[in-house]
Assembly symmetry: D2
Homo-oligomer: 500 residues x 4
C-alpha cells in the first residue's frame, strides 16, 4: 500500500507536501519522495525511510516551486534480491512527466515488453510505476507529436491508458510546465479524493481525506472510478470520465485497517464503518456466546478500538484497554558472536494484569492474517491471568492473497487458507473464535453510502475483479496469484536534486 | 524527567539496555546514553536524540560487556545558551565510575564550589549529574585510600552522599570491575525498582517496572527511599538503608501522566491509579453538571484515556474516542523567503466530526499546564459542531513549578498560577471547567498502597519537601523556584568509544 | 574542465571506474558520477565532492555490472543561483542512454528550445550535457523507430549530432544493453583516447592516457577529431569518422597545466611538451636577462616544475625547490562573532628561507591568470630575503576567456587583458617579468607531433575556432564571450540507485 | 608518530588549532582531536580520520575558547583487536587536565598497575597517553592537596613525572582555568618548539616550526630536552629544566623523512639536512660507481627530492622527475563475489617512459624499510625501458624496530635485518644498491647544529638510549622490542562536546 498526494498552489509547496505525507505515513513507511515544479523545472528528492528521516532541511531547500506530488511507500514483502525503487518516477519526453501511484498492475511484465519492442522505451527497474509512467508518456506523445498539449489530449491519453493497464492504480502525475493530473482505475479499487483551499486555484489530491483536512484544505469529493482530473498551473480544474464502464468497487480492507479512522473514503467515514463492524460483530458474538460469559472486552491496539468499543456497548459489557502498545520501536542488532534475543509480540504490547486476572476476556482484533500474532496475544492474555480467552475478528477470515497493492503474505501463509474456523481456533489457542460475516460487513458499509454497489474483497472471497496475474509470474511468487507489487523500493539509496 | 536503567548479567547487555531504554523512552526524548563494562573496561556511547537514532550498529558493536547502565533524558526547558550534556558521566578516580540519574539537585551550585575548593575536582558542565558523580567519587575515595573497595565502603559513601545532597535523585552507577550501584533519595521522589531473570545473577534496576517486564525480567520490588543496592559482577545483591529518616513521598505527577500505565510505582499500578482518578473526577463532575447534560465523554489522547473511560462508566455516559492523534510528527522547516505555516494542536490531533456534531461533549485531559493547548482543543470541538464543551482535568490545578526533575514552565506561564478556576475557564473558553480534587486524588492512590503516607505534590500545593533552590539561582530562572534541571543536554554532540 | 572514462569489460567495473576517476581527479574536483550497466539495466551514483568522498562502500555495492562510464567535474565558476547538476545524465527513450562529456556547447540555449518545440523533449537543467544527450537520443530515435539498433544507426546519429552541436565536446555514453559509444568534436578540442586490456574485449576510453596506464590498460590511440567509436558488450570495437571536415585543434592549455605530465594527448607527451616550453622560455629569459644575474631558478609548484627544471638546465643555473606546498588543505569556518583569518597563498605555500636569502631568484610559474597569486608569491620571495625577484611564465599572456570548457575568469578579471607586459609587471611587483612566446610554444609542441596543424589557443590569441556564444548569453556572463559551461553542478545533492 | 600543538591566545583558537593541525597532518593521518578552554570550561572533539574530515562546522562551533591543544595521530600498526583511542585525554581531578603527546612510553604497563594499586586511578584504555595524564595528575594532586596551584607545583610535578616515565614523550597539556603546560623527555627524542605572536601573550607550542610559521607565529626556540614551559591564561611564560641529566638526542629519522622540509628541529633545517645527506650519499655513490655510468638521477617522490637534487648536482648528472605521484588516493572496496584488484606501487606512482628508456638510471629514495616498494619501483623502472637501475638510499640500512613512537614494522619484516647489502640488493633486484653512511649522516647534521651531541638512531644502530620494552611485552609484539605505541586509535568513533 502507498499514500499519494499532489498539489497545485500559488505558494511554495514543499512543507505542504511534507505535512500531507506525514498524515499519510500510515499507508507506507518504507520510502518517501517529493517532486516539486517551478515553472517548467522539476525538483526531486526520494529515499528509503520514514518522511521525518528522508527530508532534511537541505533536501527541503532543494524543493522549490508551487506545484508538486509526493508519495509514501509500504515495506516490500518480496525477496531481498529484487531491485527496488522509490517513487515518484520521471521521464523527460514528452514534456517532462513525473508520476506516483498507489496500487498494482497485474500486466506489468507484458506492458514492459511491449514498451521496449514497439516504442524503444527502456524500463530500468522492476517497478510497475515505471511501466505506468511510460505507458502514459507514450500515449501523450502519440497524440501531441510536435503540437502543443491540450487538456483533451491528456484525457484521451488517460482513456488509452485505461485500456492498456490491468490491476489497481490511483495516480498523481505532473506534466512539467502544465499542471497536475490525477486518475483512478475503472474499478476505483484504491482511494483518491481532492479538496480546495483559499479563494481560488489551490487544489490538493490525496489518497485520504485526512491529508486534506490536516493541511487546511476543504474536502470536495472523491475522484470517481475511471475519472481523471487535470489542474493547470493557474488552478483551473478539468475533469472527465475516461473509462468505458466504470464501477465503484473500493477495497474493503481500507475500512478494516488500512485507512485512518478520521478519513472518509468513497463517501464512507472509516470511523463510522468500524463502529458498524463492531455492531455486526456483536451479533455474531451473541449468536455464539452469552454476553454474561464475557467479563470484559479488550481491543488489540490500534485499529480495532472503535469496533471493540461499539461491540462492548452493544453487548453491554465493560470496555477496557488491557493492552498497552510500546510506542517506541527499535531494532535488533546482529552482533558477531552474540545471540539474538527473540523478538515477539511482547516487545510491541504489554498486558495490564489486573484487567485479565481471573476474568473471561473477549479480545477484539481488526483481522487475523498469519495468525501468529493472535496466538501470542492469546497466550499473553492467559499468562496475565485470564480464565477464558475469546477472540473476535472485526474482519472475515482472510483466505486469499491480495494482488491489488496491499502487502500481504502468500496464500499458504494465511492461517485461514484452506482451514475451517475450528481448525484456526485450535492453532490460535483461543477458547472461542468469532469472525465477522462478510455479507453483513458489506451491507453495513454500503448502508452508509448506497452508491457503493460492490467491494473489492478478494482477500475474503477470492474474487479478483480486475484480473489475475499471468500464471508464470504467479508461480514465481508462490501460489499463482501473488502480486508484482508497486511498492518496490530503492535499496540503500537516496535520490535528489533536479531531475536529470 | 529521565529514565534510567542498570543491569548485571552474564551475557552481553548492549541490546538489553537498548530495549530497556526504548521502554523508558516516554521519560525522555532529548538524549540517550549507554555505558557497558567488560571486566574493568568501560565503553560509552551517548548523543542527543531518540534511542532509535542515537544507537546505530557501529555504536552497538562498540558497546561490549556484560554489565552496564543507560539513560534517556527529557528535552531541556532552559535557555539555549547554556551548555548541555548527555548522561551517563564518567570519572576515572577512584576505580572508574559512571553514573546516570533521574531527578534534580537543588544545592548543585554550592556542591560544585565545595568540590573544587576542597577536592580540586573540576566540574566541566552545568549538569547536576556531574556534581553528583563527583560527590560520590569523593566519598568513595576518602574511604578507600589505597585499600581495596568493600561493600561497606560503598554503602558508607552513599550515606555520606545523602547527607550532602538536597533534592530528588534516583541513581544508577557502575564501579568499573566491581558492579552496579543504585540508590534513591531519602524521600523517594523519583521511582526506582529492580527485578531478576534467569536462575541466578541477572539483576536489572530501572525507573519503571515496565522496563523489567518488557525485557523478560521479573519485578522484585521498589528500592526504598534512602536505600542503596549494590550488585557485584557475579550478580550477588547487597542492600542497605542509607538514610537517617527515610520517608516515602513519591512524585504524584508520575501517576498523572509521566509513567506508563502498565508500570507499577511504589506499589501502585499507574493504570489503576488513573482509573481511580477517573472515579473521583466523576464525583466532581456530578457535583457541577447533571450527567444527563453530557452526551458523550471524549478523552484527549493519550494518557487521559483510562481516567476518562472510568469517568464515563461512572457517569453512565458513552465514551468515544473523538480525537485521532497524528502519530507521525514532522518538522517545520524554515525556508528563506517562505512563510512558515502556523503549527497548532491541529497538526497533532484531528476531530472526528460525527462524535461532536450537535452534542454536549465532556472532554477529559490528564492535566492543564499552560492552558494554550486546552483552549485550542475546546475551539476544535466547537468547530467540529459541539453544542456545549465541558472540560475536566484529571489532575488538580497546576499552580507551582517543579524543581525536582520534571520539565515544567515557570510559575507565570502556568494558567492556574494565581488564577481562580472561573478565570481559567474563561481563558480556555470551555462552557464548564472541572478540576480533580487534590485530597481525593491522594486518598485514592494511597488506598492502593497504604504505605505511602505523603506525596511530592508541589506543583499542586507548593510544598517543597526536599528544599527549595537558593534565591539567586531561583531568580536567574524566574520566580525564585525554577530548577537547575538535571536534564542539561549535550549540544549537537555525539560521544562514543571507550571512556578516555 | 572535466575528466571522463568509459569501459566495456567482462568483469565488474565499479572499482575500475573508481580507480580511473581518481587518476582523472585533477580534471575536476567538484562532483563525480558513475553509471554501470548489467545486461540492460543501468545503475547510477553521482554527487558533489571528490571521488573518495562521493563513493562509499554502500554506493559501490549498488553499482554492479560489467560496463560503465564515469565523470569528474570541475568547480563551477558561474553564479551561485543557477541550478547545478552532476553527470552522467540519463534518458530512457530510446533504449536507455547515459552520457557524460568534457567540453562546452555554445549553442545549448538554441538547441534546448529546438528540442522542446520540435521533439517535446524536456530539459530540466541548465547543463549542456542534458542538451547533448537529448540531441543524441533524438537522432538515434529518428533512425530506429520500432527497429533494432545497428552500429550504422549509431554512427549516422553521431554524424547528425556533429551537424547540430557547436563548441567542444568529448563524449562517453552507454546504450543500455548495447554498448559504449565515444566521440569527439570535429576540432578535437578536448582530448579522448582509448586502450585495451586482456586478450580480447576489454576496452577503456578516457580523457587522458594516464587513466588507461594506471589501471593496467594498454594505450591504443587517440580518438580522432570527429571520430566515433562504438564498443559492443562483447568488446567488439567499431569506429568511423563522422565529421565532414575534421581538423585536429587540441586545446593548448592541456599542455600548459590541465593534463597530468605523465599523459600523452594527441601524440604529445605532456611532460615532454613542458620540457620544451622550458627551453623556449629559456630563450626568452636570455634575451632579457643575463643568466649570471640569476642565482637560482625556483618553480612555483606543481605543474611548472618540468619547464623550470629544463629552463634552469638551459641557463646553466641551479634549480631548487624553494617553495613547499601544503598538501593538506582545510577550510575556513565562519563562526558567529569571530573574526575570519585572512586566507592567502601562504596557507598553500611555504618558502624555505635559505634558498631566497640574499639571492636573485627566477620564479617560474606555468601561467599567470588573475595575477593575484603571482603578486603574493613575489612578495613572499622578497620577505624570505630575495634580493631580486624575476618571474617567468611558461605560458604566454592569458588575455581572453575560455568558452570551450575550461573554468576561467571573465576577460576583465584577467591581469593581461588589455594590459602591456610592463603594466602587468608593475601590478605583480616583480623586478622582471618574462612571458612565453605563443608561436614558439606552438612550434615546439607541433614538432613532437607534426600532425597537429593548429591549436585551440583562444585564451592567448582570441581566436574561437568552434564559434562564439550568442551575444545575449555572452552579455549575461560578462564581456560577450563567457561560456555556458558544461560544468554546472548538483547543489547539495546526491543521486543514486538504479535510474528511474 | 604524532603531531601536537598547544596555544594560549586572547582570541578564539579553534580555527588556529585546526590550521596548525593541517600543517602537522603529515605526522599522523589516523585520528585528530582538539580541546579548547574558555575560562575553566573545556570543550573536546576528537575522532578517527584526517583533520578535514574530523572537524565540521558543527564541531568547530562547539569548540569555543581562547586556549587549547590539538593532536594528529599516525595509523596504528598494531593488531585490530586491541582497543583504540584518540587523543587528547581528560581527567577531572585535580583541576581538570587534558593532555596529548607524541612518543611512546616503554614502561606503560608497569605504570598502569602502579596507578591502580596505589592511587585507585582507573586506566580505561591501552593508550600510554592515558597512563601519562594520570601520572601527571597524580603528581600534581599530591603537591596541591586542598591548596591553590602554583607554577612551582607544576614544575615539581613534571620533575617527578620524568623520574617515573621511560621512553619518548613530547607533551602538551591544559590545566583548566590555569594554562598550557608543555614538556619534552630528558633525551629530547621527539621534537617540540614554541613561538609567539602579536604584542604579548600569544604563545604556540608545536611539534614542528612549520606549524608556527604557517599560522603567523614567530618561532622562538626549541623546548630543551627535559625542559617544561608553562604559559598562564594571560600569556606569561615560565620555563624550567626539570630533568636531572638532560641530553639532546633527537630522533634522526625526523630529518630523513618524518618532518617537513620547511621545518627546523633542534636548530637544524630539515631541508638543509637533506641537502647534506645528498652530498654524503654522492660520496658513497662515487666510491662505487663512476658518475659517467649514470645517465640520469631520478628521485622517488616525495621526501627524497632535496637529497636527490643535491646528489645529482654533486655528481654533475642530470636530475629528472621521472616518477609522477598519484595525488588522489582512493580505496579498494571489498565487493561480495568480486575479485579484488591487486594494489601495488603502480597505483601510487607512474613512470614517465622517456626518462627511463635506454638509460642507466640512479633512483634515490629516502630510506628502505620493508624493501617491497623498492623492488616494485626497480621493476617499474626496468619496464619503462631503463638499461641499468641503480638504487641509492639517503638513509643507512634500517635494521631494528623503533620503540620511541615511529610506526615501523617488526625486525623480521625489515629487509635489512640480518642481511648484507648484497643480499638486500638481490632481493630488491637493483643492479647496484648504495646506502647512506650513518656516521657521515650524523656528522653533517651535527655540523649544522653542533649542540647536538648524539642522535636517537636505534633503527640503524640498535642502541636504545631511553630503555627497552620489558621482555613480556616485547614477546607479545614480536622480537622483544616492538613498541607499545602511543598511537592507539579510537575505533569508528567520534567524541565531542564538553568533557564529561
Amino acid at each position: 500500500m502507498c499514500g499519494i498526494v499532489g498539489v497545485i498552489s500559488q505558494q511554495p509547496v514543499n512543507q505542504l507536501l511534507y505535512d500531507a505525507l506525514l498524515l499519510l505515513q500510515h499507508r507506507g513507511q518504507d520510502a518517501a519522495g517529493i517532486v516539486t515544479g517551478s515553472g517548467s523545472k522539476l525538483y526531486m528528492h526520494k529515499a528509503r525511510g520514514m518522511v521525518r528521516d528522508v527530508f532534511r532541511t537541505r533536501n527541503m531547500r532543494a524543493l522549490p516551486g508551487d506545484y508538486g506530488i509526493g508519495q509514501v511507500r509500504y515495506p516490500t514483502a518480496g525477496n531481498a534480491e529484487s531491485e527496488e525503487e522509490a517513487q515518484p518516477f520521471y521521464v523527460n519526453a514528452p514534456f517532462g512527466l513525473v508520476l506516483a501511484h498507489n496500487g498494482n498492475l497485474i500486466n506489468a511484465v507484458a506492458l514492459k515488453r511491449e514498451l521496449f519492442t514497439n516504442d524503444h522505451r527502456h524500463i530500468n527497474t522492476e517497478s510497475d510505476t515505471e511501466v505506468l509512467i511510460n505507458v502514459l508518456a507514450h500515449e501523450i506523445e502519440r497524440r501531441t507529436h510536435g503540437l502543443p498539449l491540450s487538456v483533451d489530449d491528456i484525457f484521451a491519453a488517460v482513456r488509452a491508458v485505461h485500456l492498456r493497464l490491468r490491476g489497481s492504480y490511483a495516480v498523481v502525475a505532473l506534466i512539467a510546465g502544465h499542471g497536475l493530473l490525477a486518475f483512478r482505475d475503472p474499478f476505483g479499487i484504491r482511494p483518491l479524493c481532492f479538496g480546495t483551499a483559499g479563494e481560488s486555484g489551490e487544489v490538493m489530491v490525496a489518497s485520504e481525506s485526512v491529508a486534506l483536512e490536516g493541511t487546511g484544505y476543504k474536502f470536495e469529493r472523491d475522484i470517481a472510478p475511471g475519472e481523471a482530473i487535470f489542474v493547470d498551473l493557474q488552478g483551473r480544474l478539468h475533469s472527465e470520465q475516461c473509462a468505458a464502464e466504470p464501477q465503484r468497487n473500493p477495497c474493503i480492507f481500507e475500512y478494516v485497517y488500512l485507512a485512518r479512522p478520521d478519513s472518509a473514503l468513497d463517501g464512507v467515514s472509516v470511523y463510522r464503518a468500524r463502529l458498524r463492524m463492531g455492531e455486526t460483530l456483536a451479533q455474531r458474538v451473541i449468536s455464539v456466546l452469552p454476553p454474561s460469559e464475557i467479563d470484559v472486552v479488550i481491543p488489540i491496539p490500534e485499529s480495532s478500538r472503535p469496533s471493540a468499543m461499539q461491540l462492548a456497548h452493544r453487548l453491554g459489557r465493560p470496555y477496557r484497554e488491557g493492552f498497552v502498545k510500546n510506542r517506541y520501536v527499535g531494532r535488533t542488532f546482529i552482533m558477531p558472536g552474540q545471540a539474538v534475543r527473540k523478538k515477539s509480540v511482547r516487545q510491541k504490547l504489554n498486558a495490564i494484569g489486573q484487567e485479565f486476572a481471573g476474568r473471561n476476556v473477549l479480545l477484539v482484533d481488526d483481522s487475523i492474517v498469519r495468525g501468529t500474532t493472535s496466538r501470542e496475544i492469546v497466550q499473553m492474555a492467559r499468562e496475565a491471568g485470564a480464565r477464558k480467552v475469546y477472540l473476535a475478528s472485526a474482519a472475515p477470515p482472510v483466505r486469499y492473497p491480495n494482488i491489488y497493492g496491499i502487502d500481504m503474505p502468500t496464500a499458504s501463509e494465511l492461517v485461514a487458507h484452506n482451514r475451517s474456523v475450528e481448525e484456526i481456533r485450535q492453532i490460535i489457542g483461543a477458547d472461542v473464535l468469532i469472525y465477522q460475516d462478510l455479507d453483513a460487513m458489506k451491507r453495513v458499509i454500503r448502508e452508509i453510502n448506497p452508491e457503493i454497489v460492490e467491494f473489492e474483497a478478494s482477500c475474503f472471497d477470492g474474487c479478483y475483479i480486475a484480473g489475475t496475474l499471468p500464471p508464470d509470474e504467479g508461480k514465481n511468487r508462490g501460489e499463482g496469484v501473488a502480486p508484482n507489487t508497486g511498492r518496490l523500493s530503492l535499496q540503500g539509496a537516496e535520490e535528489q536534486g533536479q531531475l536529470s
